[in-house]
């Protein structure tokens, strides 16, 4: 870390190390009991836990204890994505003289940026974003509407700090997942040997959303057989068994018919799916060692709900769920290569929050973020530590740091950010159910691969996207955003200048160190910023006030540009 020009930074680092050492020495029963020094590491913590630190969020964090911060975050209200899309749909339709224009996926992106930038519920927003990459639903390759997507994101937000088991249920019964992985319209084939229930959701809820393909130890390592091979968690028979559970679920209706089974009546597109017992398999269903007995007569709706809960409990209680979820959350928030001990500590909290509750996501994410390996700067200094910031998070970090606002209030996002020549990422725009990147991805021929390590976000980093990012972000830095509607004029950075004078280079570098690098900026970049800022001057020996103002804007733009393209920013540590 940087030690020059930053007495505060050095002190923070020392305190963090001391706190970490105390945790080790005490060997506390749960890492969630670890605490931070009250005023230390705020920016770095908020870099991991939120869409990026701001002056206000740092002050808020420093005003209380870690426990109070988590409690306060859980209490913050969330933006209603569905209400946003409905409002925008009405506006867009009214603005078209022919009333043919409608909301698109762009309005869901608007809601995301509004919430990521302005929401006080930052932890919940970050968690929902992470969960949207586990419980993947995408506009790509599906007929998901903006309303259905917004309703789905509301479910992720509502349960993001709740219980994983509840999340599994609301996701299963959501119109979005019902459409994306074919739960809706899935009909039993009990007496028809030439047909079979759709297996898509049954497979992916196990492979991608809960247990994965191979049996895990609590520390995330594979359990192996006598030959040293990983042990599969399930076979095709398990999938076929579970697939029968997901038959006979269709769109909500007060008068369910064959038509409403697959076509949503007005307004029910955003409601939970309901049982259609006439389409539900009555056979026994065995999977993952559990058996749901056959029905002697056609089941009623209550029996179908009970059966669904039984099935989800079988999955939820599988030994793999705690390490599976723990590792992916650590990868999304802190580091691509957590130690086995880190995974194990978080997995144990997932398995039991201390009060006998399994699947407590608030406790789990607290364990992720307060762990020694998340907080300690010596841990962060190890060569394999950290993660590539996701493209959307890089942009969010920038926009929050410098207080970007939307003139219209609608956060008009301009270009389609999902394009490879833009960010190569947008909300609910994964190319497939396998998310933008796989947890196990290692770039071919890399140092990471050579050491047997992982770097999931590198799956989207290639010669095209890395160059596109530089072009895109430098354009954003130059205008302070990506449109006249949605930008910042860098007011707080320009305010660093004493009246009529140039912005002091060190003050500006310190500020960027805090806002963009979590007070952990290495010395070479820091010194480069100082040199470039000092070299950015108005013309002539007696510049006008306007020329000084322009030079100050250049100072900010040049300094911010350097950080945004630096691996010291790109690799969050």
């Amino acid at each position: 870390m940087r030690t020059d020009n930053a007495a505060g930074g050095a002190a923070v680092g020392a305190l963090a190390v001391a706190a970490g050492a105390a945790v080790i020495a005490a060997n506390v029963g749960g890492p969630h009991k670890a605490t931070l020094p009250p005023n230390g590491g705020a920016a770095r913590f908020l870099t991991q836990a939120t869409f990026g630190p701001t002056d206000a969020s740092i002050a808020d964090f420093q005003s209380g204890t870690m426990d109070a911060w988590f409690a306060n975050q859980a209490a913050q209200p969330s933006l209603d994505f569905l209400a946003w899309v409905n409002r925008r749909e009405a506006e867009i339709n009214a603005a078209d003289p022919n009333h043919l224009a409608h909301a698109t996926s762009a309005q869901v992106q608007e809601a995301f940026w509004a919430a990521a930038l302005g929401g006080q519920d930052q932890l919940r927003q970050r968690m929902a974003f992470a969960l949207s990459q586990i419980f993947v639903v995408s506009f790509v390759g599906s007929q998901i509407t903006p309303r259905i997507a917004a309703a789905y994101y509301n479910l992720l937000l509502a349960n993001a700090l709740g219980n994983y088991r509840d999340l599994m249920r609301v996701v299963t019964l959501s119109g979005a997942m019902g459409m994306y992985l074919n739960i809706i319209g899935n009909i039993e084939a009990d007496k028809d040997p030439t047909r079979h229930p759709d297996e898509n959701y049954a497979r992916e809820i196990m492979q991608l959303m809960s247990i994965g393909l191979s049996k895990l130890n609590m520390d995330g390592s594979y359990q192996t057989d006598f030959d040293g091979n990983p042990i599969p968690t399930y076979s095709h028979d398990d999938i076929a068994g579970l697939a029968k559970v997901f038959t006979g679920w269709g769109w909500s209706s007060s008068t369910p018919t064959a038509s409403t089974f697959t076509r949503a009546p007005a307004g029910s597109d955003v409601l939970p799916l309901i049982p259609y017992p006439q389409y539900h398999s009555v056979l026994s269903k065995s999977f993952l060692g559990g058996i749901i007995p056959a029905y002697s007569a056609a089941p009623n709706a209550a029996q179908m709900y009970a059966e669904l809960d039984t099935a989800l409990n079988i999955i939820f209680n599988h030994q793999n769920v705690p390490p599976f979820v723990a590792k992916q959350l650590i990868q999304r928030f802190v580091t691509s290569n957590p130690s086995p001990a880190y995974i194990s500590d978080v997995a144990h909290v997932f398995a039991n929050n201390g009060q006998g509750v399994r699947g407590d996501l608030a406790a789990t994410i607290k364990a992720v973020l307060t762990h020694y390996e998340a907080r300690n700067l010596q841990a962060a200094a190890r060569p394999h530590y950290g993660k590539l910031r996701e493209p959307m998070i890089r942009l969010a970090n920038f926009l929050r740091a410098f207080g970007a606002t939307s003139v219209s209030g609608n956060f008009l996002t301009g270009p389609d950010l999902s394009q490879a020549t833009q960010l190569d990422q947008a909300l609910l725009f994964s190319p497939t159910v396998f998310n933008f990147w796989a947890p196990s991805y290692a770039p071919p021929g890399s140092r990471v691969a050579a050491q047997g390590l992982r770097a999931p976000e590198f799956q989207a980093a290639d010669v095209l996207t890395t160059a596109s990012y530089v072009n895109m972000i430098l354009g954003v830095v130059q205008v302070g955003g990506w449109s006249k509607d949605f930008a910042t004029a860098y007011p707080n950075e320009l305010a660093l200048a004493p009246s009529g004078q140039l912005i002091p280079a060190i003050a500006l570098a310190n500020r960027l160190n805090t806002l963009l690098c979590g007070d952990n900026m290495p010395s070479p970049l820091y010194q480069r910023i100082v040199a470039v800022v000092n070299s950015t001057v108005p013309p002539g020996s007696k510049p006008t006030a306007a020329q000084i103002a322009t030079a100050n804007l250049y100072r900010v733009q040049n300094a911010v540009a350097l950080v945004m393209v630096s691996t010291d920013f790109l690799i969050q540590r």
């Binding site: 009909i187 492979q207 095209l464 530089v470 733009q557 350097l562």
Partner: protein, 520 residues
């Protein structure tokens, strides 16, 4: 010198110590070149992402097989059985004499008319469990009705099919499958794993490198000059084009073919934004000295950016020098709604053709390309979804075949399909689920086209009185291994026989490494 030590040296070379290798590389080059074909050659992998339902791509139309096909697929809420050969298309509002149903939409199979007959040059044997058509006539075949151009290419001998190909560890009978001895490949039916399997050539591969990339590794030892442009992809984050030493090159698909992405700020000079230092500082920051970076993720990221910058100018210049050589695709009309729409696969193949036109400037003699069409995971709505995709495939293949002829490359470029897996033989009501053995397309003048290679399987679900030796449940047990299919293509490209086991570790378990569908 073994291939492994060569590879290690190349890895070392990639880290910046190329000079001591020149002599070794020259030696390797001579050795390999002795057996390799001369002149430019390329393989183009068309990946049908999501698992194409090949049961509706290539069909056997003998009475016995068709009866089981019809029974399995003419059912459910939206039946997915195609009409028998010779059936005339039925207009919307008219009644089909085959199904007795009134056609209501352009995605009703009756609307498309019957499957399109093809006659393979070599008669297919009647497989066990199949009742030969009376009179001992040859087994008959057809392809999807939305692929008339592919039918023409087949009859012209420019295109052939591989029947029932899939990942295997060794030849496998149904009895062996049921006894689980020898083993079946792990993680069948899983998208991510089977994509990795098909793209890596290794059924239990780690997914770190693909067989296209491994071919590029081997090729880079022969002609290291164009190493950056041997393995080309239009898709991000895929396994196939990644080598152990050679990195894939992702091109930007544009309206004029292919382009590299230049970093704009690196093209500027002088004082910028009021500072004489900022441009050089940005360059140093964008392209850091990786030896100064202690974090390996940072160094790996910096390597990608550096490669992007190093290659972008070379690529842009080469593409500009070959402007107009590759013909652009013709317009594609969506057969379901009659509208002219984009065909992303044709666009990608245009990028491939554009890149090939620049191959001599890029100093490459061998190339492997990867393009991808998504959306084949037709668990539901298969009629509307797969029909559009196969029409796009048909249009794109026909465009590319013509483009290669125009460019004089039709004998030097072989195009082939791959996919996650085949889909279930029976319908789930309006779609199909994940299965195993599948049928694939190979195209080019070097292909011994107009034929079906491998045994076209027995189709159908077991009953109490009938047992299908080629299927377990809804999935075909492959009778040709993906390794054999891909190794035949690799051999044609010029990969020496001695290098094949490293790329396809299970190849030796099969009776032949060359299926004979390529002219050497």
């Amino acid at each position: 010198m073994s291939k492994f030590s060569r590879r290690d040296l190349l890895q070392f070379a990639a880290l910046g110590a190329a000079a001591p290798l020149a002599a070794d590389l020259a030696l390797v080059g001579r050795t390999a070149a002795a057996a390799a074909p001369s002149g430019y050659r390329a393989l183009v992998c068309v990946f049908l992402q999501g698992g194409n339902d090949a049961n509706n791509l290539l069909l056997a139309t003998d009475a016995d097989t068709w009866g089981r096909y019809w029974a399995a697929r003419w059912r459910g809420t939206d039946p997915i059985a195609l009409m028998p050969p010779g059936t005339a298309p039925v207009a919307i509002g008219s009644k089909s004499s085959v199904t007795g149903r009134t056609v209501t939409a352009t995605d009703n199979p009756e609307y498309w008319g019957g499957v399109l007959p093809i006659t393979p040059a070599t008669a297919q044997a009647w497989p066990a469990g199949t009742q030969p058509t009376a009179g001992g006539a040859a087994r008959t075949f057809a392809i999807n009705p939305l692929m008339p151009l592919t039918q023409s290419l087949f009859s012209q001998g420019s295109l052939g099919f591989l029947a029932n190909v899939g990942p295997l560890l060794s030849p496998l009978t149904k009895a062996q499958y049921l006894a689980n001895s020898p083993s079946t490949p792990p993680r069948l039916y899983s998208h991510s794993d089977q994509q990795a399997t098909w793209q890596s050539g290794q059924v239990a591969g780690t997914g770190a490198s693909g067989w296209g990339g491994l071919i590029a590794d081997a090729e880079s030892s022969v002609s290291p000059s164009g190493v950056d442009f041997i393995s080309i992809t239009t898709a991000g984050g895929v396994v196939y084009p990644a080598g152990k030493t050679v990195n894939s090159y992702r091109v930007n698909v544009t309206s004029t073919g292919a382009a590299a992405q230049l970093i704009n700020v690196l093209q500027k000079t002088g004082t910028y934004n009021g500072s004489p230092l900022v441009l050089s500082a940005l360059a140093q920051t964008i392209l850091p000295n990786t030896s100064m970076l202690t974090n390996i993720l940072a160094a790996d990221y910096a390597d990608i950016v550096a490669r992007s910058v190093q290659t972008a100018k070379t690529f842009s210049t080469a593409i500009a020098g070959a402007a107009g050589v590759a013909p652009a695709p013709t317009a594609f009309t969506n057969p379901l709604n009659g509208k002219v729409v984009d065909n992303p696969l044709a666009d990608q193949l245009y990028a491939v053709a554009t890149t090939m036109a620049a191959s001599s400037t890029l100093a490459v003699n061998r190339q492997v390309f990867f393009v991808q069409l998504g959306g084949f995971d037709t668990h539901d709505g298969e009629n509307s979804r797969q029909s559009l995709l196969l029409a796009q495939l048909d249009h794109a293949l026909n465009y590319f075949a013509a483009a290669m002829k125009t460019m004089g490359l039709d004998g030097a470029v072989t195009t082939f399909t791959a996919s996650d897996f085949n889909r279930t033989f029976t319908t789930n009501g309006d779609g199909t689920d994940h299965a195993w053995g599948s049928h694939h397309i190979v195209m080019g003048s070097a292909v011994k086209g107009g034929d079906i290679y491998g045994q076209y399987p027995t189709l159908g679900i077991d009953t109490t009185t009938w047992n299908n030796p080629n299927a377990v449940g809804n999935a075909l047990i492959p009778t040709t291994s993906a390794d054999q299919y891909l190794a035949t293509l690799a051999t044609w490209l010029g990969v020496p026989a001695g290098s094949l086991p490293a790329i396809f570790p299970n190849l030796a378990n099969f009776p032949t490494a060359n299926l004979g569908f390529m002219t050497p």
